[in-house]
């Protein structure tokens, strides 16, 4: 706990207030907070039950009772969309969390030990980059069996590469520095020292990557859901809802519009956060004077 808190304060040092004043970032943050609120308080906010079937009321268009309409099994779409918020956001947090952890570790490991280990790990990273992430995830989920956990796992197993690059790069440059020799002399476990140093100093780029990764993870997760390989019925998940609604495109346009809209809004929010972070943490360019 203390460790996470420390991480955040280091980030806060680097963020100029300017960042928070940017309109798009502020809106993005608010949306994210709103979504988090939805996710946490879903059972209290949602008007109906997300899985209860009510065939008498199926495929109803949007109305006051059902603002997003009902699906083919009579379930209220708004309710399902709200519950799906929890599914998608939690799952993507999981994906990004695991990716960051794996990536940081492998990067530091590769940079620290160098030599053959480094070459092998870099080869692995290049291989993972050689295919579009979704294809690899597809195959893994296909092998393990569909389900939201497997989907999330698959996406985290292929999403760590960019973090590894960041941490490996910094590790390599640090290895040269003399203080490592000095601390070795004093007797500290220098792997731990380096690791801690790397983590502290890569907070900025990694947080930026992570924010953007969150949006990307939701898209990938929903894509897997759309292909039937992610969350399985009756679990509400935006992509899976789009898949279920697809067949009824002609008679129930609301099934295909609202879940997708939620995905887009969520991803927009994370992207604006990530873009804002990236702009804020870039070295500020001096005002161009001589041009």
């Amino acid at each position: 706990m203390a460790y996470w808190f420390k991480r955040k304060t280091i980030l806060a040092d680097k963020l100029p207030l300017h960042f928070l004043k940017q309109k798009s970032v502020a809106i993005g943050l608010m949306v994210i907070l709103g979504l988090a609120f939805l996710a946490i308080f879903a059972p209290y906010l949602a008007p109906y039950d997300p899985v209860e079937v009510d065939l008498y009321n199926n495929l109803l268009p949007p109305s006051w009772e059902h603002p997003f309409g009902t699906d083919n099994l009579g379930r209220d779409v708004l309710t399902r969309v709200i519950y799906a918020t929890k599914t998608d956001i939690l799952a993507s947090l999981f994906i990004v969390g695991i990716s960051v952890s794996i990536g940081l570790f492998i990067g530091i490991f590769a940079g620290y030990y160098g030599g053959i280990i480094d070459k092998v790990l870099v080869g692995m990273m290049d291989t993972f980059l050689a295919l579009p992430e979704i294809i690899l995830a597809l195959v893994l989920v296909g092998a393990l069996g569909p389900g939201i956990f497997n989907a999330a796992l698959a996406l985290s197993l292929f999403g760590w590469v960019k973090y590894a690059r960041v941490s490996r790069g910094l590790t390599l440059s640090i290895k040269e520095k003399e203080f490592i020799e000095a601390t070795k002399a004093v007797g500290f476990g220098d792997f731990y020292l380096i690791a801690r140093h790397i983590v502290q100093n890569t907070v900025a780029p990694i947080t930026t990557l992570a924010a953007l990764h969150l949006g990307h993870a939701i898209l990938s997760l929903a894509a897997l859901g759309f292909l039937g390989l992610g969350a399985q019925p009756p679990m509400p998940e935006w992509g899976a809802m789009l898949n279920e609604g697809r067949v009824f495109l002609r008679v129930g346009w609301w099934l295909s519009v609202f879940p997708g809209l939620m995905i887009m809004i969520t991803v927009l929010a994370f992207n604006s956060l990530g873009d804002g972070l990236r702009d804020a943490l870039d070295p500020r360019m001096k005002e161009v004077m001589m041009k």
Binding site: E287, V288, M289, M290, K291
Partner: protein, 313 residues
């Protein structure tokens, strides 16, 4: 006859940190067949001055005053008219030719551009002219060189190519911004000699912007010494070396290797936080009360010799 007359030129930038007064009331004149040197340290605004003549400054600059070229105020021209001046009547050569040339276009293409733009030549005919220009600036095997890219040239050759670019359309005035910066001393000497020859034979006037007095001594007829934003001394080159009047000029000369390498106290002020009164007073060994609050005007102290200092006012 006066080719270029700059009257009370001001160029201010608004930046996040404040207003930068890069050029703050400058008066200069350049005549036909004259080379004027603009001497000063880095950051004194001399490059901005050069750029402002051709109005190449970015849009967030405020430029005031008059720049009279053959009697016509350049600041009042519209973009299209200005473009007819650039490269044709007045040309500019930049420092650091590696970044000042486009890396993905051949040198030949880049030098032929002024011909295509101002003389309406087609590429084929322009290339012949380019080869002539390259011969003029003494670049060997010009017909092969035109197909090469800037990074394939050596530093000295690149600078010569820039000179060729500038002289292409036989401008009346060349503005040369630190043309020898970054070059080896021997190469520098070659470039300087070339420039001297060319300006004499083509009777082109030149505004030479530099911090290197040695180079200036070779090429210039007159010198204007610039200190953040303004001219503090103006004289004929020999007179300046013999009789520097402004304390800054004196300090500048004293800091040269040939004269004792005596460094001056303090540092040039930044263009944002300028001192009150005479800008040099914090560093001036002769500063008096008056210097701290009032800004001196330019006064004549000899034939064609002007100083901005209360010592003479």
């Amino acid at each position: 006859m006066t080719l270029l007359r700059i009257q009370d030129l001001k160029a201010y930038f608004s930046t996040g940190d404040g207003i930068v007064k890069a050029v703050d009331g400058v008066n200069l004149e350049i005549g036909e067949n004259e080379t004027l040197g603009l001497i000063g340290e880095t950051g004194c605004g001399k490059t901005v001055l050069g750029l402002s003549i051709l109005r190449l400054l970015s849009e967030n600059t405020k430029v005031e005053g008059k720049i009279l070229y053959r009697g016509e105020d350049l600041l009042k021209l519209n973009e299209e008219e200005m473009r007819k001046i650039r490269g044709k009547e007045i040309a500019m050569i930049f420092q650091n030719p590696l970044t000042s040339m486009n890396p993905v276009l051949t040198v030949g293409t880049q030098i032929s551009e002024p011909f295509e733009l101002h003389k309406g030549l087609k590429k084929k005919d322009a290339i012949k002219k380019v080869i002539e220009m390259l011969k003029l600036v003494r670049i060997p095997s010009p017909s092969e060189r035109i197909k090469e890219y800037p990074h394939e040239f050596s530093g000295g050759m690149r600078q010569r190519a820039m000179i060729a670019m500038g002289l292409a359309c036989e401008p009346s005035l060349i503005i040369a911004d630190e043309p020898t910066k970054g070059l080896d001393v021997t190469i520098q000497a070659q470039v300087v000699e070339l420039m001297k020859e060319l300006t004499t034979s083509t009777k082109t006037s030149m505004l030479l912007i530099t911090h290197d007095l040695g180079v200036a001594a070779e090429l210039c007829d007159n010198i204007a010494v610039m200190y953040p934003g303004e001219i503090v001394e103006y004289a004929d080159i020999k007179e300046l070396f013999k009789n520097p009047k402004h304390p800054y000029t004196q300090g500048f000369l004293d800091s040269l290797p040939g004269r004792g390498l005596k460094p001056m106290d303090g540092m040039s002020p930044s263009l944002i936080n300028l001192p009150e009164g005479c800008k040099f007073h914090p560093r001036c060994p002769f500063a008096r009360e008056r210097c701290k609050s009032m800004r001196p005007e330019m006064v004549e102290v000899g034939k064609n010799h002007f100083v901005r200092c209360f010592l003479y006012d």
